[in-house]
């Protein structure tokens, strides 16, 4: 090797400085006895503080660089050769911060993909290549003790979410989950969540239908509407309660809430409404009596009450 840069580390905090040394071996052909070693940081040529001849005849230059203020820079060890400057070795310098602890970690159990999807906020950019890993373990108690090995879920590059497939989950057991951010300067850990996948199931809203009058179904009273609804199919096995809200399509009317309602009803008469008025109806459900998360409100069903 003609020239070799040695560095204590190639990554420092922004604003820190680094001392580097470069050794030019004697057998670097065409080398004059007192060749001057030069340094290039980015495009700026600099002299080292000290250049000395080592026992084996090689030349060594040492330089303490100014505080690094760019996340990435190239340091070159050069030699004046005739009227050109020859690059003999090059090193990448990184400067940034240790990763902040990721925050706002939240998880939802998706019944369609059958996976636990967790997302988080990575925190401020630290200028360094940073790996995020979603770590989890199963627990028999409230996540005080770890029942088996830690599972790593590695998100795609740049993503701040990761999904744990069904086969790694125990749907009715506690699991501890946190996010770990790691770069060359350190590690940041989010606070640990302790959850039971089934308790964070993300339900899709039920489907609301108008009940058309038919021989079996008498037309609704004035000021009433006939409805029926069906649970989201993949959640049929989950016992739920639901809520209905309605709002007359008149200016700034507010929502009125009706509930709790049974999850499956073939025919429901909603009364106490204004006659011949268009109403927006929405419904949502939640796992109950076992813990769960409310689904979003269903899309609006617009129905008009009969005349007086």
């Amino acid at each position: 090797e003609c020239g070799h840069i040695s560095l204590p580390t190639s990554t420092v905090r922004l604003g820190d400085s680094i001392t580097a040394s470069c050794t030019i071996s004697p057998n670097c052909s065409h080398l004059g006895p007192e060749s001057q070693i030069l340094w290039k940081l980015g495009t700026q040529l600099q002299l080292g503080e000290r250049q000395q001849r080592l026992a084996d005849g090689s030349q060594e230059s040492t330089i303490t660089l100014p505080p690094l203020n760019r996340p990435r820079d190239l340091l070159s060890c050069c030699l004046r050769w005739g009227n050109s400057v020859q690059i003999l070795d090059q090193a990448e310098l990184w400067a940034g911060h240790p990763p902040a602890a990721p925050h706002n970690l939240s998880c939802l159990m998706n019944l369609t993909t059958n996976s636990l999807i967790c997302q988080w906020e990575p925190g401020p950019h630290n200028h360094l290549p940073t790996n995020f890993t979603l770590k989890s373990f199963k627990s028999r108690d409230n996540c005080q003790t770890q029942e088996d090995s830690i599972l790593d879920c590695v998100p795609k590059d740049g993503d701040s979410h990761c999904s744990i497939p069904r086969k790694y989950l125990k749907l009715y057991r506690h699991m501890g989950i946190w996010v770990q951010a790691e770069n060359a300067l350190g590690t940041g850990k989010s606070p640990q969540l302790c959850l039971v996948p089934m308790d964070v199931v993300k339900l899709e809203p039920p489907t609301l239908w108008a009940l058309a009058p038919s021989p079996e179904v008498a037309p609704p009273q004035p000021g009433c509407l006939l409805l029926r609804w069906e649970l989201w199919k993949p959640s049929l096995y989950i016992e739920q309660k639901c809520e209905l809200r309605h709002q007359p399509q008149l200016g700034e009317a507010s929502w009125a809430l009706v509930g709790p309602l049974l999850p499956e009803t073939l025919q429901y008469e909603l009364c106490g409404l204004l006659p011949s008025t268009a109403y927006a109806l929405q419904m949502r459900c939640v796992r109950w009596p076992l813990p769960g998360q409310w689904s979003d409100w269903s899309p609006s069903l617009i129905l008009t009450t009969a005349q007086q």
Partner: protein, 174 residues
């Protein structure tokens, strides 16, 4: 919240069991529907003779039947029945590419359910000293035998779960 052996178990445990029975029933129904659609194996009663020849074991639930309803005995039988079905479903591995995902889901949910019961029995100090084993499993030597076996196992599982559901329903009544 540990409880003495005589009093009933935590309500939330029993509600979770009911939910898990419904979940496994839904998985089982999906497997039956796919076996019927893809391979025209829609009636287990057409496969009784084959079932005898294959030696497909059934799981006893005497302590869960209305005549001799006994909570802990029922849970123990329910648990060992689930362990038996875990073994039967493993023996069906390689049933067919289309059915594999459905079979995997059923296995995962049965395993979850079995673990929950076992750990609850441990928590109340009622777990048998030796966990039950699967016993000898039938060997299915052809693709058809795996599909026919799948139809029989799924059908037996539904009846097994029906009995368990009625018993658990009874135990959850306040």
């Amino acid at each position: 919240t540990p409880l003495g052996p005589t009093s009933s178990l935590p309500q939330s445990f029993l509600l979770k069991c009911l939910e898990q029975v419904r979940k496994v029933q839904a998985d089982g129904t999906a497997l039956q529907e796919r076996l019927c659609a893809a391979h025209k194996l829609c009636h287990p009663e057409e496969l009784v003779l084959l079932g005898h020849a294959l030696g497909i074991p059934q799981a006893p639930l005497s302590s869960c039947s209305s005549q001799a309803l006994q909570l802990m005995g029922c849970l123990r039988q329910l648990h060992s029945g689930l362990v038996l079905y875990q073994g039967l479903l493993q023996a069906l591995a390689g049933i067919s590419p289309e059915l594999a995902p459905t079979l995997d889901m059923l296995q995962l949910d049965i395993t979850d359910f079995a673990i929950n019961i076992w750990q609850q029995m441990e928590d109340v100090g009622m777990a048998p000293a030796v966990p039950p084993t699967q016993g000898t499993m039938p060997t299915f030597t052809s693709a058809f035998q795996r599909r026919a076996g799948g139809t029989l196992v799924a059908s037996n599982l539904q009846s097994f779960l029906e009995v368990a559901y009625r018993a658990l329903r009874h135990f959850t009544k306040p």
